[in-house]
């Protein structure tokens, strides 16, 4: 878009972040601005107009002197607008403009002028807009439950005097306002990028996207932490993962599959990294000889995601970092892979007391992340060969040492973002392992039966999408990367 036909072009829709000072004096009878400002009738698509709107982002000194149309704030872009009483601008119009509530949607016509000095508070620093028409498309209530300005304030600034922060709950209660900040706009663009890179990387390797049901008849892992749904005259559950269905697709000769979708955990965990509903990026893959073929595929997938974000989302990453400072995300190519026991040894060297087959606590995972970062300079690594005892019943044991298993977790900045394993593809052995875990076989019979008609050896994993976004951007709470988060205490908006 350019500024081609200034006479017939209306202003681009925008929100007034800054309003001009109100005019003094009583209303006069004649209004030289009549027909150039006001509240537009609610748009009901009455007319098919051929008038393009211009974007704030496009306003630069190249348009100096041209008549143009602008946005005060449009997504992450802002421009200063001016309105002064004069030959064609009435007091009434200036007064009207001054009274437009913040966060209303406006269409504006104006002239772009090079500003005498850079306007540091705006993204379009070299120009300002001299308003000739101003129309309110959608008025906001005058009282806002939170100020966008406050919601934008960097974490680095020390609060002083009137500076106000907006707490997480207020943000989430009024998410429709909170999401308007440039930071939130950027976070969710990065998140969309993660999903896209996940899918594109796997599709290029011959993976097929599938969709798996969220309503299931039985809780495959024994029924803990599962939401119950009333299903006509019976009841059902919400799937905690698409794992059974990914595995069935493998048993059905699809070879390599992925799926992106909601997963549900009825866990009463009120932490910075747990949600009751989140987006799973899941994959499953048949392999020829060894599950490390799959581990390598997943490791390389993360490398592609990290490179894609670094190369294509630098503006968004910097926008987020201005409000929430973080160190750039470091990764190795190929990724670092440690055995579980190596991780344990690093922790012991750092003074942690633990047995070879103890699972890692969350603080120990964090500590290990710091040790790995110090030693290998990477924020991402793979930990392989977990103790069999700490993994689910369907995990394939290590054939050489029964203490270990063919399973792995992957970490970003010391937090787990993927859990995966070679799955047992033999119905008989799966039954044996389920019994060993004290699981009622009748409840998982359908799962076991899926492997009775021939199934290739396979492995896979599930990635927590919001966690990847949170940890890549170095954010402190998963609610920052879930557009409408769900936790034990939050179901709205």
């Amino acid at each position: 878009m350019g500024v081609k036909d200034p006479q017939s072009t209306p202003a681009k829709r925008s929100r007034p972040a800054v309003t001009p000072p109100p005019a003094d004096g009583a209303a006069v009878e004649t209004d030289v601005s009549s027909g150039r400002y006001g509240r537009q009738p609610m748009n009901q698509s009455a007319e098919l107009l051929e008038r393009p709107l211009h974007r704030v982002q496009e306003l630069t000194a190249a348009q100096d002197g041209k008549q143009c149309f602008f946005v005060v704030r449009q997504q992450q872009f802002t421009v200063q607008a001016l309105l002064a009483v004069g030959a064609e601008t009435s007091k009434q119009m200036v007064k009207f403009a001054a009274n437009v509530a913040r966060e209303s949607i406006i269409d504006v016509e104006g002239v772009v002028r090079r500003s005498p000095q850079p306007i540091e508070s705006c993204t379009q620093q070299e120009v300002e807009l001299h308003v000739t028409q101003l129309w309110v498309v959608s008025a906001s209530e005058p009282q806002l439950p939170l100020q966008i300005e406050d919601a934008c304030r960097p974490d680095t600034e020390e609060p002083e005097g009137v500076q106000i922060r907006v707490n997480q709950d207020t943000r989430l209660n009024y998410r429709v306002l909170d999401l308007r900040t440039p930071t939130n706009n950027a976070i969710f663009r990065v998140e969309a990028g993660i999903c896209r890179l996940f899918r594109e990387t796997l599709t290029a390797q011959g993976f097929v996207e599938i969709h798996t049901p969220k309503i299931i008849s039985a809780a495959s892992e024994g029924g803990a932490n599962v939401f119950t749904v009333s299903y006509f005259k019976s009841s059902a559950f919400l799937a905690q993962s698409p794992q059974l269905y990914k595995q069935m697709a493998i048993a059905s000769d699809f070879e390599k599959v992925f799926t992106v979708g909601a997963v549900f955990r009825a866990e009463d965990s009120n932490t910075h990294r747990h949600l009751t509903e989140f987006v799973g990026l899941d994959l499953e893959m048949a392999f020829a000889h060894h599950y490390h073929e799959v581990v390598d595929t997943i490791g390389n997938l993360f490398t592609e995601i990290f490179k894609g974000l670094r190369d294509n989302f630098q503006t968004e990453i910097e926008t987020v970092r201005r409000q929430f400072p973080s160190e750039p995300f470091r990764f190795l190519e190929p990724p670092l892979r440690l055995d579980f026991i190596q991780g344990v040894e690093m922790l012991r060297e750092a003074g942690v007391e633990m047995g070879d087959e103890d699972d890692l606590s969350t603080p120990n995972e964090k500590l290990l992340g710091r040790l790995v970062k110090a030693k290998y300079d990477t924020d991402f690594f793979i930990m392989d060969k977990y103790p069999l005892a700490v993994r689910p019943f369907y995990t394939m044991p290590d054939p050489k040492d029964g203490r270990w298993s063919n399973s792995y977790d992957m970490f970003m900045r010391g937090e787990e973002i993927l859990s995966g394993a070679q799955r047992i593809h033999d119905a008989e052995f799966l039954t044996e392992r389920a019994k060993h875990h004290g699981i009622d076989i009748t409840k998982i019979q359908a799962y076991i039966d899926s492997f009775k008609y021939g199934c290739p050896p396979h492995a896979g994993g599930g990635i927590g999408m919001e966690r990847v976004c949170m940890l890549y951007l170095g954010l402190d709470n998963i609610r920052k990367t879930s557009m409408f988060p769900r936790d034990p205490k939050r179901l709205t908006p």
Copy 2:
């Protein structure tokens, strides 16, 4: 892949669809084939082998005489394998091979020979495989609940003698076998293509992918047909559509958004086109002047999907058509758009009696599809300006004639696949319209409040993904395009 190092390369994993005749005679003591056949130990990833597996698809006469490794059936590809008692092949080995259960996974080593005449029953018609080693990777149970051969039988063939069809319920009960047919393999590749084309087309136009919660606190459209979930000590609902959240994203300045995810309908409809859980391809978009900007965007999106399928999925489409014959899908560019009243008039001309503002019944939609096809030669069209009375309360009325509304449905082969509208973006007017519909305002207050702080005019729609796939391929039942369908009577597998 090629056939580079025949001595050290194992065969590609496959399933025996055809087995050689069993050998006569009793077992002898010496076995010249010893070490070249048998049941492999369960793969526990014991060894990291560097031996590539070859694919059935690659076996052509170019490999004539070379030693090679093959698949009997691998996804949609099949090859004939031979095993005869000889200098290096024992009776025991032939007997073992004859007894491998159908649908087992096998790795085979063999020599590719040009076949004396084309093998019409296989996809690799010009070659056959002379087996030198045969290993069972994963054995199937000998008794199969359905035969893949039966599940593959074209709809066109008249059943005669022993020919057996597999009914829908048997297919779905043993989906892990049913999905192995080339037709099912093709259907779900087409479906993955639809999702990819949807996302890529919109992403290229600046749409941002979002994720919306499936667990919601209130049923926005009054509570009918909603599944209830127990949520800790309280209860919640499963979202019938992501609409509220898409609209909130628009009110949050995201301008253009899409989302792909599960939607839930607790409707006790047992028809060929209803599921209780399906995948919604949803989009929402702010517009400058008129909702037809959005209608055009969606219409063009469908054009891109149809072109993408036609150009990139011809093999899959033909595979499906061999089993389930259908006419190629016809579409116009740009798509045909009719007003609702024009559709009514076409129906009246065909003898249907109905009022101007009556909604279309399903049979009338079907009939209209046929009339449109006959007149305009298109299987896709848009019907615009539905009667206000038959649309939900949040639909924007037509500003020029209160009988109509700024809403539209889109059709493929006479069945609705998208419903959409300009939504009311004004909180006050939305309240008025909800009251007019007799809706309890307190139950939708959160929805109304989303529009209180300024919201651009916007429109959007939701596409039923499985329906698009079913209708594009001319299939007769939506359960054919849902990998693990859910309906009032089916919750498994």
